[in-house]
């Protein structure tokens, strides 16, 4: 099914099916929520251990779950400013479809740029994270 390879590639499918950061941790410092009213999808993000661990509880599509997973990988241990920087670069990459070396594995989501209505799926975990970190300021 080559025509979908660019979006539903191995990395995304793998992380959707075998999430590494799913579930609510026993202890956490901050939490944030994201919800897409258009489809009812939602994600809850937890930041624990001084910002070195990010978890999510997700009810949504493969793109959203994979995005939450890759985000959790990408932001662990970053400063607030660095998180903001990643988020902006990530959104720019989703809009343009051009991978950005700084984003590493997050570039696996660049295919979303061809599906404008799916961009929200990919950004939802980041909104939830921003809400969580709003409490950290």
């Amino acid at each position: 099914m080559s025509e979908t390879a660019e979006l539903y590639q191995t990395l995304i499918m793998d992380r959707t099916k075998n999430p590494r950061h799913a579930g609510k941790p026993a202890k956490f410092d901050f939490e944030g929520h994201g919800e897409n009213p258009m489809c009812g999808d939602r994600v809850h993000v937890y930041v624990a251990d001084n910002g070195t661990r990010v978890n999510h509880e997700s009810r949504g599509c493969a793109i959203m779950v994979a995005s939450a997973e890759l985000m959790a990988d990408a932001v662990a241990g970053l400063t607030l400013d660095e998180v903001t920087e990643r988020r902006m670069a990530f959104e720019a990459m989703l809009n343009s479809g051009t991978p950005n070396p700084m984003l590493g594995d997050l570039n696996a989501l660049s295919g979303v740029s061809e599906y404008r209505s799916r961009i929200r799926c990919a950004t939802l975990p980041w909104s939830a994270l921003a809400e969580a970190l709003g409490g950290a300021k």
Binding site: M1, E3, T4, M13, M38, G40, D41, A62
Partner: protein
């Protein structure tokens, strides 16, 4: 595979030729449009009718004494006659043109609702309504103090008459507002029985015909409907035009909705007087080109005829239910006895969004989401579903393509 071809007078190849868009490709694949329930494609006849108005016979209607205006008014008003005949209304004055079904329902809520319902009165809807038949009544409830009650549906997706009876027992119900066909479950509701039920209990009935009118001959007099609404764009007509049917005596008693030109008898600063229905409810310049386009759509559908359309869609639906239920892990929502070409489904471990995107990559357009029926999603225990809907141009092959496409989706998620 060729069940559709057996239907008398129904030449699917010729019909598909009437719809220019169907020969498009999407992502280099044959375009398979299974989203007609959201909005249908337009036949050449509708496009041509609209072009003709704009190229040869256009002016504002009603107010002009010159040739172009008289001819345009005639063409516009002829569609009112046509629509009345289409629904078998008793009189042309019972047809009000609106933007869409949504505006038609809101018009009733704002006029009939505010003038004829009193605080303490109740309105009953069902669990399988579109937001268009929920939100206007909530707004009326919140502004006007009426009560909003929700009658249950059965697990099969049919009206639960025991629950309905229950909602009516205290005698407070003045209006039953209910769909004629669910846009999620495909259920046709028993409208004659519902009308009789409501009338025997002193309530009026409003039928949301947005989906039904496309697939079945509607006879508002036989049903004894008090209100019936639909949108042109789902009936192969233009966007921007909808219909509200209401019994004459009800319309006569209704105050106006929007104020402005054409809906008045006379205007002075102290007091204005209202035109008779239907004009009382049509303020300002109407959707002239679109109304004429709707007329062409009605002609088109009637030329094919509802017996043939219904038989074709019956065959499509049967075939789709058969092939889709063979896909392991796929769950079809609703199993009403009387159901039509609207099939919503979920798949184990695959989100509806992903189904839609992966099908789209194969040229197949289906819808995914809550289908403007969030409360129904809750009732069904899902948050969103994929949905395939059929039109008169849908083929058996397209249904097979859907089934094949879904198997590929499963592979990706295997």
């Amino acid at each position: 595979m060729s069940a559709a071809l057996k239907i008398a007078n129904f030449d699917i190849a010729a019909i598909r030729n009437d719809f220019p868009i169907l020969s498009q490709t999407v992502h280099g694949k044959k375009f398979v449009y299974l989203d007609s329930g959201a909005s249908a494609q337009k036949p050449r006849a509708v496009i041509d009718a609209m072009v003709h108005v704009m190229e040869a016979q256009y002016a504002n209607v009603h107010r002009g004494l010159h040739w172009m205006s008289e001819r345009t008014s005639d063409a516009f008003e002829a569609v009112r006659d046509k629509t009345a005949k289409f629904l078998n209304a008793a009189a042309r004055e019972e047809i009000v043109f609106t933007r869409n079904a949504t505006e038609s329902i809101n018009l009733i809520a704002y006029t009939y609702g505010r003038a004829s319902l009193n605080p303490g009165d109740a309105i009953v809807i069902s669990e399988m309504e579109h937001h268009a038949n929920i939100v206007p009544w909530q707004m009326l409830r919140d502004s006007h103090g009426v009560e909003l009650r929700v009658a249950k549906i059965t697990d099969a997706g049919e009206i639960d008459f025991a629950s309905l009876e229950d909602k009516f027992t205290d005698g407070k119900v003045k209006l039953l507002a209910i769909t004629h066909m669910s846009n999620v479950l495909g259920t046709y509701t028993p409208v004659e029985r519902l009308a009789k039920f409501a009338h025997e209990r002193g309530a009026k009935i409003l039928l949301d015909g947005s989906q039904a009118v496309v697939h079945r001959q509607v006879n508002v007099q036989a049903i004894d409907a008090d209100f019936y609404v639909f949108s042109g764009h789902k009936l192969y007509g233009p966007s921007g035009i909808g219909v509200l049917y209401a019994k004459r005596e009800i319309l006569e008693a209704m105050p106006p909705f929007l104020g402005g030109g054409d809906m008045i008898a006379s205007v002075s600063y102290e007091r204005s007087t209202w035109a008779k229905p239907p004009y009382r409810f049509e303020a300002g310049t109407p959707a002239i080109i679109e109304t004429i386009g709707l007329g062409a759509a009605i002609d088109y559908v009637e030329a094919i005829g509802f017996p043939a359309i219904a038989a074709h869609e019956r065959a499509l639906t049967d075939h789709a239910l058969a092939v889709l239920s063979k896909i392991e892990g796929l769950h079809i929502l609703g199993s009403a006895q009387d159901r039509g070409g609207v099939i919503a489904f979920t798949m184990d471990d695959v989100h509806a969004h992903d189904i839609a995107t992966l099908l789209d990559r194969q040229g197949i357009a289906v819808r995914a989401g809550h289908h403007c029926a969030e409360p129904l999603m809750g009732r069904l225990g899902v948050t969103s579903t994929a949905r395939a809907t059929f039109g008169l141009y849908t083929t058996m092959e397209e249904i097979d393509a859907l089934a094949a496409g879904l198997l590929r989706v499963k592979q990706v998620f295997a």
